[in-house]
Symmetry: D3
Subunit: 132 residues, 6 copies
């Protein structure tokens, strides 16, 4: 199995609902350093998993829809707690939709899976892995 | 599959038994930067894998039982070579016992697995993965 | 010259005032991974710059006064733009006040200087250096 | 499952063939920071996955056959695009051949798998995973 | 003293002239992860050292003139050995010329200095510091 | 001013004397990831600060005299507390002696200074800077 990973980041404000979150129930924020890994059993005719440049562009486009925002006011996120692990899923699902729509090219439709990891600090991170 | 990772560290002295270890048969030491990843197929009602704060506390508690010690003198480790990979297992098993005892809360009993990685330097690390 | 550095982090929401900040004028947030370096020409009688444990505690205490907050609503920060470089100065000045008040012990009053670095992402950070 | 990882690097020139590569079709170069992970279900009699020293030596030997070279002129690589993911496979296969030849000792023949990751920059890396 | 740092990278081929360079006399290559630090005694009216966005753009523009190239064929570099430390100087001088030309805005002309660091691997890097 | 840095590591056991050290008074250990920076105002005739290969060899040789040992039993360290900052000085002074003895070549005698940083964990490090 092959994998290619690109890294980017977003900077957001948010708060979390539920006693378990303690002080994180207050409005605060995070930089998420985001790694997106594209997985594939065999390389394409060019000898790659996916074009790294295009992969980076698509990840950047997904993060552009989240960064420099207060996620508490985003209509599409109104029903969820924007925990790090849930946001990893949001990013992965939006990237997957782009892959399915052909944004990474035709051969990228043969991708087997996707892993998105959000680093919230030097001591904590979360990931979500899904098939494509 | 979701994962949440927390990082901490311990600083220990030890020696290793067996010719394969060369100079590491002498009493020496290591800082192990320890990553513990909790894995779960679906998020709980709060939208998380596990509370990051509690996960960090439990990892810290496990490492508190090992750090600032000479592992050669620890009765519970007397029968094993405290190689990096074996210590990863020791940490993982102790964390797993805490999860099973409820230290991470009731919903954490639905965790699917645990990965513990010990970084012994910038050029070597070892990990152990187990189900929960 | 000797230096000792400890690392911690804070997670805050804020917005920045001024056209130069572009989309960062919106309410957003950041994780700041914070490095505080204590500098000293000669070691103390124990052979150290400062006790690492106490240094870490004092840095943590300073960051506890900022983390999990919306800095736009902090009275003490009302007059400034909370840019990364300005926040580095705020953290350094608060740490310096603690050093002067004896929080790191008597010998820490012989410290020569302090550098605080705030990492806002994997591709950008800022620092402030001052004498003590 | 246990894993042990060692890190080394190589510095090469190359060019890539195919429009998808854009400016990377020109002769350029890369430092690849290379991580090789050896995986095994159970530890050997010494309590290890593989001797870290020998693993590092073997990885270094494999990279010595590639580093400080223009890969466009390497006969053994003439038929492939030396993309990061393909080079990960080349390194993994050469390491696997060494394992099978006994270079890591007899017990290393019980290894279950191998993962090789090549970091081409702070924002992009690729990996290849194979059984042993 | 304040500092703001931005990180980017370039991927180049080159060879070095002189017996001291051993195998690096052959055509090979490198990824340089490049950190540019802008230093300033006092913040500007917006409370910043320099706009991080513009600083990143200018660093990217300088690196765009070097990346994906064989430096042995660059006319402007014909007279020098493109060692890591020399390239740090090249990048710093080109960045300084842009600052002086106003590319970072008028207030950036008050910058006191610039440090450029090129990381050639996880175990070696070089830097060049100059006034502005 | 130019600088070139090489990184290596050592793994030692030790204990520290003095109440300030708390649990670190017990025999424990550390991995120190060691960065040695050589500084120089102007490059030599080859366009370098120092040969990176030779610098790495000399740092390795210095660390070979410390690693895989219990520092409490080293005669040459009997009079000092082997705190991280003091060990940074020990490594720097031993490297400086080698530079003065010509181990880095004749032109390396024109080096202006040396900085040695010892990382004891992901959250703490210490450094010592001296002229050459």
């Amino acid at each position: 199995m092959f994998g290619v990973t690109v890294r980017d980041h977003m900077m957001i404000a948010h708060s979390l609902r539920g006693e378990v979150f303690g002080p994180a129930q207050r409005l605060h924020g995070a930089t998420y350093v985001v790694d997106a890994t594209f997985r594939r059993a065999a390389l394409d005719a060019d000898g790659i998993v996916v074009d790294i440049g295009r992969a980076a562009e698509q990840l950047h486009a997904v993060l552009a829809g989240l960064t420099y925002r207060n996620l508490d006011e985003e209509a599409k996120l109104a029903d969820i707690n924007t925990s790090t692990e849930r946001l990893a899923q949001v990013v992965a699902d939006r990237l997957a939709a782009r892959v399915h729509a052909g944004a990474l090219g035709d051969t990228a439709r043969e991708l087997d899976g996707l892993v998105v990891t959000l680093h919230e600090s030097h001591i904590a991170w979360a990931s979500y892995e899904r098939p494509l």
